[in-house]
């Protein structure tokens, strides 16, 4: 059964791709057909993915590989393929399920948008690309889908291209991810050069992530003494992941990406695409482990690559959390929260291994999608209003949205016991705590948890509590207070909420099913494990952090409701300079503006000058030289050759004239010449031979 499903797995990305193609062809009036096509395709691939997930759940140590020869160039053949193993199955199931829900949500959200078909076409394309990336067994295929996903995000962010900010944001997203992808590409090329193949796993065992290739990577390589090539390749791949998942240096594009429609943000910038970076690191984890010194009881390995990842993750988590506190746009807060959560995932991956990172990714996908869709329905309800200062008291008009949003908030901030967020974050903090290298990431993680809880409570107070603060004289004169979204939008919220809660059960320390599944072992119930001292300590600290965060949040914003939009933020009154800095996103954009872009402009101007003056000059010089030579040639031609030739011809003609005179047609002259010749011959003969 599992063999057949492995073969069927290829349909999972292909179906949405076909749907995208079909949608691309359908005309605008048949808009309904586009959405049904997309949702149908996603539903089918979700069905296959989930059944494959259930099949492999029973045998986590399985890894089924299907490879095929894609290209024959000379004597090298490039292989692509897909595979079914716990990691890919889990991701495929999550992506397809969340995608399906978001498709259904956006059917309502985008109902009266005239580019409806184009939207669903792009969504289907994105789904196909993401699913393809997830099940890819070759880094090349993964890279192809990676680029497609980047393309889809660009198209969807810039969906309302008539808005200049959206177009600029799409460009910014695309370019920054591309900077990261350069690293990925270099890593890929180096990997292929070193191991000769890009396929992860093959039956014969020559895959680049399999033992043979890893040993060669570890030992060989020009920099064997200093840093193993594997580490360098891993770091290069990490650049790509950082770009795509919005880690610190390359995170600037993610908040701006909120210009796209909310379901897009939900699907791409919360659940799936941003997770691709983490998934990539999980997929190439064996590469990261090369040359690791095994120590520490929690079988966590420490290698330079993993250390780097851990530090970057921790720093991003804290940094983004700080900025999220001071944002006023509902989606921007969630964006920064996603950046910080991704930081947590990388922290977990770096410190605790694949399972820890991936489990948080899965839980985060659900509750962040939930939060985004909730924000979407709030915006939809408040007549496209995105600034939280002009909302307020929404709970009275949108009870379902408020309820599901509250669940999502609590899961995100890690309220203990019921919510999946607590367990997955706890795992990360536990791994960070046990990290032999240093304790600082653990402290950063805890502080981040406090801040997460704080800005989420701030957001909820602003949006759902307090008086309704709509803009003065709402320009479109509709009924001033918001209305609840239709069922097609609220139903996915409810489902996501149940998952946000339910998923936690699979990841508790007592029964770490998800972690072991991802590690490829069978889980076994062990309540005793729950109460071991060290675990309890970590759970305690995280509990304290969350409580402190929510308390502070309520204290600042919950006590006296925010009466008017104009009033400055509570926090702002006390720590205005810090708050203003945070509001301006710590001037990172300005920093880039000042450094990278100016440098780029400078370099462009410099090269322009170089090009125009030096190269242009050289070309001009050559041109002039050639023209000069041509002139000389022509001069020589006219005066030298032609003149000479004419002279020669005139001479010949004159000479010929003389010659012609000899032949004047008179027989006598000829005969006379003959006679003379004969006489001389005769004389020569007679006298000559004596």
């Amino acid at each position: 059964m599992i063999e057949k499903l492995a073969s069927l797995l290829v349909l999972v990305p292909v179906l949405p791709l076909l749907a995208a193609a079909a949608i691309a062809v359908t005309k605008r009036p048949h808009r309904q057909r586009a959405s049904t096509l997309a949702i149908g395709a996603m539903g089918l691939s979700c069905l296959i993915a989930v059944s494959a997930f259930l099949a492999i759940a029973g045998a986590p140590e399985e890894r089924l590989v299907r490879n095929f020869d894609w290209l024959h160039i000379g004597n090298t053949t490039i292989q692509l393929g897909w595979m079914l193993d716990p990691l890919s199955a889990a991701m495929a199931a999550m992506v397809s399920f969340v995608g399906l829900l978001i498709f259904i949500f956006s059917k309502g959200y985008m109902a009266h948008d005239e580019n409806y078909t184009r939207f669903f076409g792009f969504l289907a394309l994105f789904g196909a690309a993401m699913l393809g990336l997830v099940i890819a067994n070759s880094l090349l295929l993964l890279f192809i889908c990676w680029e497609l996903v980047g393309l889809a995000s660009y198209l969807l962010i810039g969906f309302w291209f008539h808005k200049p900010e959206a177009a600029a944001a799409a460009k910014k997203a695309f370019i920054t991810t591309r900077v990261g992808d350069m690293g990925l590409l270099l890593g890929m090329v180096w990997l292929h050069a070193a191991t000769g193949t890009l396929t992860f796993y093959t039956e014969g065992g020559e895959g680049c992530l399999q033992a043979g290739a890893l040993d060669s990577l570890g030992a060989a390589g020009l920099t064997a003494r200093l840093i193993a090539p594997a580490t360098l390749i891993a770091l290069l791949l990490f650049c790509g992941a950082a770009g795509k998942s919005g880690q610190v240096p390359l995170h600037v594009w993610l908040p701006d990406a909120m210009e796209g429609p909310t379901p897009v943000s939900a699907l791409i910038h919360a659940a799936t695409m941003v997770a691709a970076g983490v998934f990539l690191m999980a997929r190439v984890f064996p590469l990261l482990e090369v040359g690791a010194a095994m120590h520490g009881e929690s079988h966590s390995v420490v290698t330079p690559a993993l250390t780097v990842i851990t530090w970057v993750g921790a720093f991003t988590a804290l940094f983004a959390a700080f900025i999220a506190v001071a944002q006023n746009d509902i989606k921007r807060i969630l964006a920064y929260s996603t950046v910080s959560q991704l930081g947590y995932m990388f922290l977990g991956l770096g410190a605790g291994g694949v399972a820890v990172g991936m489990f948080h990714l899965l839980t985060h996908a659900f509750f962040k999608a939930l939060l985004f869709l909730g924000a979407g329905s709030v915006i939809h309800g408040c007549h496209e209003e995105q600034d939280i200062r002009y909302m307020g008291g929404v709970r009275r008009w949108m009870p379902v949205t408020f309820a599901t949003y509250a669940v999502g908030m609590m899961a995100l901030s890690g309220v203990p016991l019921f919510f999946s967020g607590f367990w997955s974050k706890d795992e990360i903090l536990h791994a960070a705590h046990g990290w032999p290298v240093s304790h600082i990431p653990f402290l950063m993680g805890s502080l981040g948890a406090v801040l997460t809880a704080f800005y989420m409570t701030r957001q909820v107070c602003y949006v759902f509590f307090g008086p309704q603060r709509s803009r003065e004289g709402a320009d479109h004169g509709k009924a001033a207070h918001p209305h609840e979204s239709p069922r097609v939008m609220t139903m996915p919220l409810v489902i996501l909420a149940t998952f946000a809660v339910g998923l936690g059960i699979f990841g508790t320390p007592a029964w770490p099913w998800a972690q072991s599944f991802l590690e490829g072992e069978h889980a076994h119930l062990a309540f005793g494990h729950l109460f071991s001292g060290e675990v309890l300590a970590v759970m305690g600290t995280s509990l304290v952090c969350v409580a402190f965060g929510i308390g502070a949040g309520w204290w600042f914003y919950g006590r006296q409701p925010i009466s008017s939009a104009a009033r400055p933020d509570a926090l702002e009154e006390r720590f205005t300079p810090v708050f203003v800095a945070l509001k301006n996103r710590l001037y990172v954009d300005e920093l880039y503006e000042a450094t990278v872009i100016r440098f780029n402009a400078l370099a462009a101007r410099f090269f322009d000058v170089v090009d125009r003056w030096i190269l242009g000059g050289a070309v001009a010089v050559i041109g002039y030289l050639v023209v000069g030579f041509a002139w000389i040639g022509r001069f020589l031609e006219d005066h030298g050759v032609n003149a000479g030739f004419d002279l020669g011809c005139r001479g010949i003609r004159r000479g010929a004239g003389a010659g012609a005179a000899l032949q004047d047609g008179r027989v006598h002259n000829y005969l006379r010449a003959l006679g003379i010749g004969f006489a001389t011959l005769l004389l020569l003969m007679t006298w000559g031979c004596h």
Binding site: H668, R672, G675, I676, F678, A679, L682, L683, T686
Partner: protein
């Protein structure tokens, strides 16, 4: 009999000079006949009797007549005032003299010509005939072909083509 050759020789030379110098071309033709007859007699003197007869038959009988005939046809027998221009004449005679001098110098200076006449078997006509039709039959056929072609060619060249426009441009 010794006097026969010089007489005949002078006669021939006179005929030849006359042939070349008579103003009236008919006289020139007739003096040519005299020269040719002189040569024929010389052949007789040399014992080549058949050749002499052939000479007379061909040259005197046919060639001379033809020349005279053509003179009539081209109305140039009068030799109207076509006197020799001095310069080319001098030049012509000069060259001829040069050539003739060369030949004579060869004859006079090369000593081995002075040996006496060997006894020669009279060349019977029969032997001549056998040689002609034996070893030299190809030459004979060649001469036959040549003469035929010459006749046809001469007739064609001299044929008065009705449509060809005669008057020179």
């Amino acid at each position: 009999m010794g006097f026969v050759f010089p007489l005949i020789a002078t006669l021939t030379v006179l005929g030849a000079v006359g042939a070349m110098s008579f103003r009236k071309s008919i006289h020139a033709a007739l003096s040519l006949v005299v020269a040719l007859l002189g040569i024929a007699v010389t052949y007789l003197g040399l014992g080549a009797e058949f050749i002499a007869l052939v000479q007379v038959l061909v040259y005197v009988g046919a060639v001379a007549i033809l020349v005279v005939f053509v003179m009539q046809l081209t109305r140039s027998e009068g030799g109207q005032g076509e006197g020799m221009a001095v310069r080319p004449a001098a030049l012509g005679v000069g060259t001829a003299g040069l050539v003739c001098g060369g030949l004579i110098s060869c004859v006079v200076l090369l000593p081995d010509f002075r040996t006496p006449w060997p006894e020669k078997a009279d060349v019977g006509l029969a032997r001549l005939g056998e040689a002609l039709t034996g070893d030299y039959v190809v030459a004979l056929e060649g001469i036959g072909l040549l003469l035929t072609v010459a006749i046809i060619g001469a007739v064609l060249i001299a044929l008065k083509r009705p449509n060809k426009e005669e008057t020179p441009e």
